[in-house]
Amino acid sequence: MTTQATRRDVLKGVGLGAGATVLSPILGSLAAHAAGDAAAANPKRVVFVLQSNGMNPAHLLPSGVERKSANSDSPTQKFTEHSLDGRTLHKALEPLAPFQKRLALVQGLSNKIALSDHSGELGALGCYPKGKVHAATIDHAVAEALPGVFPHVGVGYSDRGNAYCYSASGPGRAVPIVCSPADAFKTLFGSVAAGSDRASFDHRTNLLDFLSDDVKRSRAALAGEERQKLDGYVEAFEALHARQAKLVAMADAIRKNTPKLNEKLAKEATASLTLEAQFEIAGAALVAGLTRVVTITSGGGGQAFGKYPELGVPDLHHIGHGGSYEGKTAEECFVTIRRTHTTLIAGLAKKLESIKEGDGTMLDNTVIVYLSDSGDSHHPTGKQWPVVLLGNLGGKLKTNGRYIDFPFYGKPGHRTLANLYLTLLHAVGKPREKFGIPDIGLKDFDQTGPLGELLA
C-alpha cells in the first residue's frame, strides 16, 4: 500500500524527483552550515575528467604488465592486480608519475548500455543509453552528498559551444558544461571581479530580487494550495539570491583564489589553452570552497571531438580511423592528446596538494576520476571502459598505486562502470543499490552495489 502524502509533499516530491540532485545540496548545505560547518569535518571532493575519442586500454598498462587485446579473446578471465611500485607508467600517463602512489588504473569494467559510436554522451557518467536524459549522472548524484555554494561546477572545451550531453541533474534535465572559460569565470568569480563582470553580478542580484517580488504579486491572486505551487518559484529566486549574498560574504576567499587567465579567456583561444583555463578555474573553485564536485570535459559529444591544430592533430576523427599527421602515427597523435590531458590533471592534483587541510592536504580528500566518454576507443565496444583514479577521497578508496583488471565482459565476476560509480556514492556517504539502467546482456550478473576491491 502506498502511504498517502499530503499535497504539499507531492509537490515537493515531484520537485525533488525532477531536480533533487541540485536542490537538496543547497538545503543540505544550509543544514550543514547550521550544524557548525560539517563540511570542514568531512571535506571530500570529487573531480570527473572526461575526454573524447576513447581511452586506449594499452595506455593504462605500466611496464611489465601485459594484457591481451579485447579483439583476440577475453583479455582477463579473473580479477588481477599489480602494484605500480617500481613500474613505469605508459608514456600517455607519464605526467601522472609524481602521483603514482595515489593512482588506481582500472580495467575491465563494462558500460555496454551506453554503447554508441564516437561518444556515449550522458551514458558515460549516467550508465544509460544515449539519446534521452534518463536520470542524474554520477557527478550530480555525488554532489548530493557534497554540498557547496555551487552544488556542481561543469566546465570544459568543445568547438560547438556549451555541451549538454555529459551531465544531468535529473530525468530530462541535462545540465550544461560551460565551454567558454569567460562565462565560467563570470559565474564563479564575477562577484569579486572588477569592471563589467561585477556589473553583471549586480544585474543578476537585481533580477533575482525583482523576480521574487514579481512572482509574489502573481501569487496574490491565488489561495490555498495553488499558492504553494508558486511558493517553489519564489523560494527558488530567494535561494539564488541568498547564494549571491554568500558569494559576497566569501569575497575574500574568492578574491584570493581568482585565477589570472589573461589570453586564455580570449574567444579564439586554442583547445589546449581553453582546457588550461578551465582546469585553472575548476581548481580555483575547489580551493576557494565554491564547490566540491567538478566535471571537466573535453569534447562535445557525437563527432564533436575537438580540434587540436596547435598540437599537430587538427582532426580527432581522422586519427580515430588510424590516420596519421605530419609523419606521426595515429597512436602517437593519441598519446600527444592524452598527455595534454594528463599534464593538466597532474597540474590540478599538484595545486590541491599545495593546500593544507587538516593534517594533510586538499588532495588527500579528493579523487579525480578520469575516463573517456567513448569507452575504450573511437568506435568502442562498451565491453570495457578504462578508468584512471587519482586520490583516495579521504582514505575511502584503495588507490595506493594499483593496476587492477576485472574479469572481462561476460566472465564470472564481471563488474560494470555503474559498480564503480556505486563505489563513489558509497565512499561519499550516499550509498545506493543501483545506478543507471542495467545492461540486459548481463542479466545474470550482479550489477548492484560497490566494488569491494576498491573500497578501503
Binding site: 500500500m1 502506498t2 502511504t3 498517502q4 499530503t6 499535497r7 507531492v10 509537490l11 515531484v14 520537485g15 525533488l16 524527483g17 525532477a18 531536480g19 540532485t21 541540485v22 536542490l23 543547497i26 543509453p129 559551444g161 556549451n162 535529473g170 530525468p171 530530462g172 534535465r173 541535462a174 545540465v175 550544461p176 563589467s196 561585477r198 556589473a199 549586480d202 544585474h203 543578476r204 537585481n206 533580477l207 525583482f210 523576480l211 514579481d214 502573481s218 501569487r219 491572486a221 491565488l222 489561495a223 490555498g224 494550495e225 495553488e226 499558492r227 504553494q228 505551487k229 508558486l230 511558493d231 517553489g232 518559484y233 527558488a236 529566486f237 535561494a239 539564488l240 540486459i440 542479466k443
Partner: protein, 710 residues
C-alpha cells in the same frame, strides 16, 4: 457471486445518495466507530498490517483519498475484516462504503492513475443537471509548450536552450495541473535561457559607425543598447510592451510598466551599465510566473453560486494551450465580441474556434494526437530494450510510427473513433518510406533489408524487415492494408502496443490486464504492496500462462484476479508482437540428450506447445460483459461495443484535456461529452468540443484559504 451482489447493492445505495455530498457529521457518529471496532486493531498505532494504517484518517478525505479508497474497496468487496474476525453489521458497512465513496468523489485523487477511484456509476448512473467548475488554478507549462514559448520569443530558434521542465516518469497521463511546481534547479536553467534569449534579442553589430540590429534581434530592444545614452522613458515603455506581447501574449498594465521600467532604472543607476540594465529588464519579463504557468484563475464576473467564468484572455490561452502548445491569441476578437453578449455567446465562440481549429491542418492541435499516445501508450515501445532477432527486424520506433499513422487515419475519418481504434482490421506496415540512394529506388520502406521490390535477378535475398511482425511476407505498397484474417485488430494488437506492454524477454499479461481493467473498464487495481517481489518463475520449459499461476495464491489473487485474465488473451502474440498459434518452450528431455560424444551439453532445444488464448471478464460492473472470452479479438470486440468502455474513454479524455481527475461535480460535463460523442456518430472532434465548452473547462471556483477545508 456473493461479492457481485454486495457490490451492486452498495452501488445502488451510493447512487441514490450521490446528489448530496458526504456529510462530515456522519464521520464521528458512523464511520470512525466502525473503523475503531473492526480495523484499528491490525491497522493502527500498534500494528500496521500490510503497512497500512487508518486510525489517523480524518473526515478530510481528500488528504488521504487513496487510503480511503482502499478502505472502501476492501469493505465493499467483503475482503476486510478477514474471515477470522467478527463480521461487521452489513448495514453499517454499507453506510461506511457510501460515505467514503461520496467523500472521495467530492475531492478526487490528484495523481493521474487514480482517476478511477470514483466509481463509474456515480458519474454516469443518474442524469446530472448541475454544471460545475474547476478550482482556480495555475498549471506549469508542459515541456513542449515551453519549447513553443521559446520559439516565440527567440525568433523560432532553440539552439543552446535546455528545457528545464520534466514530467513524471510514470505511465498514464503525465501533465496534470496539480503535479508540478518550479524548483531551484529549473529556475537556474530558466535564468540561463532567458539570458541567452535576450542576448539574441538585443544583438547588435556596428554599421556605418552606428550600432544596428542583427538578424533576429528586436528593433525596440536594440535601441536600448547604446551604453552612453540614457534612453527616453517612452522607449523603455515600448520595449516592456513588446516583450510582454512576445512572452505572455498580452499588453502590460500601467503598473507593470512602472515596475519593469523601475527595474531598469535601479540597475542603470547601481552599475552605470545601461545595456546590462535593459537586458535585465527584458529577462525579467520572460521569467514571469504567468509566462511559465497557465493562469486559469477565473477573472470573469461572479455568478450567484460564487463561481466565475474565465476571462476572454484566460479562455483564449487555456484553449490554445489545450489543443496545442502555443500561447497565441487566436480568436480574441470573436471572444471579446461574444463576451459582451453573455456566457452562451462565449460558449458558442469557443465551440466555433475549436471546430475550426480541429479541421484546419495548419492550426496548432499537436496536443490532440498526444492524447492517443498517452491513453494507449504504444509510444513507449522503444523504451523496452530487446535482443536483436535473427530472422526479422525489431524496429520499435517504426512500429510506433505505424500506429501513429493508423490513429491519425481513424481520427481523420472521425466516425465511431473509439470503436474503430479498438477493432479496426486495418494496419500500416513499415509505413515510413525513404529514397534509397544506393539503388536509386524511390519510396522504399525504411526498415527492410534490402528494400523491396527485390531484384532476384541480381541475386538479392530477402532478409526480412518489420513486415513479418505484422504477419506479412512482402511489403504492402498500398496502405493501410487489412491485417491477415483472424490475427489482430485495433491498437491493442498493434505490435507497438504489445511491445510497449512487454518486458525485455517476455510478454506481460499482468500489466496488459491492468491496462484493460483501468482504461477500458474503469476499474482500479491497488499498487503492488511494499515488500512483495513480483516474480514469475524462470522456468523456460513452462508456458508463460502456466508460470503465471503463481499469482493464484490467495493473497496475490485478491488483486491479480482483476488483471491476469484480461491480459492472458494477448498471449496470442509473442513479446515482439508477432501473431502465433503455438508457444515455444524449452524441451528439457531433448536438451539433456543434446550432447556430443563426450557427453558435453550442446545447448538448449526448444519445442512448440499448444497456445491457450482464453480469458475471463469479472467484476466489470456490467453484467453483459461478464464471462469467458475465447481470444483477444473476442474480448476487445465485446468491450468495444459496451457503453461502459466508451464512457471510460470519455473520462480519460476529460482528464487529459482538463489536466485533472474528474470529481462527482463533473458528472454533467462528462455526460454531455458522452452524449455529444454518441449523437455525432462517434466524432472525436465533437467530444473535444464538448469538453472545451463544458462548465468544468470554462468556470472556476476560488480555492480555500490555506488550512481551510474545501
Amino acid at each position: 457471486m456473493r461479492r457481485l451482489i454486495l457490490f451492486l447493492g452498495s452501488l445502488c445505495f451510493v447512487a441514490g445518495s450521490a446528489a448530496r455530498a458526504a456529510d462530515p457529521a456522519e464521520f464521528p457518529t458512523a464511520v470512525k466507530p466502525f473503523l475503531t471496532a473492526h480495523c484499528v486493531k491490525c491497522h493502527g498505532p500498534e500494528k500496521q498490517a500490510g503497512d497500512f494504517r487508518l486510525d489517523d484518517l480524518t473526515a478530510d478525505v481528500g488528504k488521504h483519498a487513496e487510503r480511503w479508497a482502499t478502505v472502501r474497496d476492501q469493505v465493499r468487496d467483503g475482503l476486510m475484516p478477514p474471515a477470522k474476525e467478527q463480521k461487521p453489521d452489513q448495514a453499517k458497512a454499507r453506510q461506511v462504503v457510501a460515505w467514503a465513496s461520496a467523500a472521495i468523489g467530492t475531492r478526487p485523487a490528484r495523481l493521474p492513475n487514480q482517476g478511477n477511484l470514483i466509481p463509474h456509476e456515480l458519474l454516469f448512473g443518474t442524469p446530472a443537471t448541475v454544471g460545475s467548475a474547476s478550482p482556480a488554478r495555475v498549471w506549469r507549462l508542459a515541456p513542449p509548450a515551453y519549447q513553443s514559448f521559446v520559439r516565440g520569443v527567440f525568433r523560432e530558434r532553440l539552439d543552446g536552450i535546455v528545457s528545464p521542465f520534466a514530467l513524471l516518469g510514470e505511465r498514464g497521463f503525465r501533465d496534470f495541473a496539480d503535479l508540478y511546481s518550479l524548483d531551484e534547479a529549473s529556475t537556474e536553467l530558466l535564468l540561463r535561457n532567458a539570458a541567452l534569449i535576450v542576448d539574441a534579442q538585443t544583438g547588435t553589430e556596428v554599421k556605418n559607425g552606428k550600432p544596428t540590429g542583427r538578424n533576429g534581434s528586436v528593433r525596440e530592444f536594440v535601441e536600448l543598447m547604446t551604453p552612453d545614452v540614457e534612453p527616453a522613458r517612452a522607449k523603455l515603455e515600448v520595449a516592456v510592451q513588446a516583450q510582454f506581447r512576445l512572452a505572455v501574449a498580452r499588453p502590460a498594465t500601467p503598473d507593470e510598466v512602472e515596475r519593469y521600467v523601475g527595474l531598469y532604472q535601479k540597475g542603470a543607476k547601481n552599475t552605470g551599465d545601461r545595456p546590462g540594465a535593459a537586458k535585465t529588464m527584458l529577462q525579467a519579463v520572460l521569467l514571469r510566473a504567468d509566462a511559465m504557468y497557465r493562469y486559469e484563475v477565473g477573472t470573469g464576473p461572479a455568478e450567484a453560486s460564487g463561481r466565475r467564468m474565465l476571462s476572454p484572455l484566460e479562455i483564449e490561452q487555456a484553449v490554445s494551450l489545450t489543443l496545442g502548445n502555443k500561447r497565441v491569441p487566436p480568436f480574441a476578437t470573436a471572444l471579446n465580441v461574444a463576451s459582451a453578449k453573455g456566457t452562451a455567446a462565449i460558449r458558442e465562440a469557443v465551440a466555433n474556434h475549436v471546430r475550426v481549429s480541429l479541421s484546419d491542418p495548419k492550426a496548432d492541435t499537436e496536443r490532440v494526437m498526444g492524447f492517443f499516445r498517452e491513453y494507449f501508450e504504444y509510444h513507449r515501445a522503444p523504451e523496452v530494450f530487446k535482443d536483436k532477432p535473427k530472422d526479422f527486424v525489431h524496429a520499435a520506433s517504426q512500429l510506433v510510427a505505424d500506429t501513429d499513422r493508423l490513429v491519425a487515419e481513424i481520427v481523420a475519418s472521425d466516425k465511431d473513433v473509439f470503436r474503430e481504434l479498438l477493432t479496426t482490421q486495418k494496419t500500416f506496415v513499415n509505413y515510413t518510406v525513404r529514397d534509397d540512394k544506393k539503388t536509386n529506388r524511390k519510396n522504399v520502406p525504411m526498415q527492410s533489408v534490402p528494400p523491396p521490390p527485390f531484384r532476384k535477378e541480381k541475386g538479392e535475398v530477402f532478409k526480412a524487415g518489420v513486415e513479418p511482425v505484422y504477419g506479412f511476407t512482402d511489403w504492402p505498397e498500398t496502405q493501410p492494408v487489412e491485417s491477415p484474417k483472424d490475427t489482430r485488430i485495433g491498437v491493442l494488437m498493434q505490435p507497438s502496443w504489445l511491445v510497449a506492454w512487454s518486458t525485455n524477454f517476455e510478454t506481460d499479461p499482468v500489466r496488459r490486464g491492468r491496462w484493460v481493467r483501468e482504461r477500458l473498464l474503469g476499474g482500479t487495481v491497488p499498487d503492488l504492496p511494499i515488500g512483495v517481489v513480483a516474480q514469475v518463475p524462470d522456468e523456460p520449459h513452462r508456458t508463460f500462462r502456466d508460470r503465471l499461476t503463481v499469482t493464484r495464491a490467495a493473497q496475490c489473487w485478491k488483486c491479480h484476479q482483476k488483471m491476469d485474465e484480461l491480459g492472458l488473451p494477448f498471449e496470442q502474440f509473442d513479446h515482439y508482437g508477432r501473431f502465433r498459434t503455438t508457444e515455444t518452450v524449452r524441451d528439457t528431455e531433448a536438451t539433456a540428450k543434446n550432447v556430443d560424444k563426450k557427453g558435453k551439453l550442446l545447448g538448449p532445444v526448444d519445442k512448440q506447445v499448444r497456445l491457450v488464448t482464453t480469458g475471463l471478464i469479472v467484476d466489470s460492473g456490467v453484467p453483459s460483459l461478464e464471462g469467458a472470452v475465447k481470444d483477444p479479438r473476442d474480448m476487445i470486440r465485446k468491450i468495444a461495443n459496451s457503453d461502459r468502455a466508451r464512457q471510460v474513454f470519455v473520462r480519460h479524455a476529460f482528464r487529459y484535456f482538463l489536466g485533472r481527475n474528474e470529481s462527482l461535480a463533473d458528472a454533467k460535463s462528462l455526460q454531455d461529452a458522452d452524449a455529444a460523442y454518441v449523437k455525432s456518430g462517434g466524432s472525436f472532434k465533437a467530444l473535444v468540443e464538448s469538453l472545451l465548452t463544458s462548465d468544468s473547462f470554462l468556470y472556476r471556483v476560488a480555492t480555500a484559504a490555506p488550512g481551510g477545508a474545501k
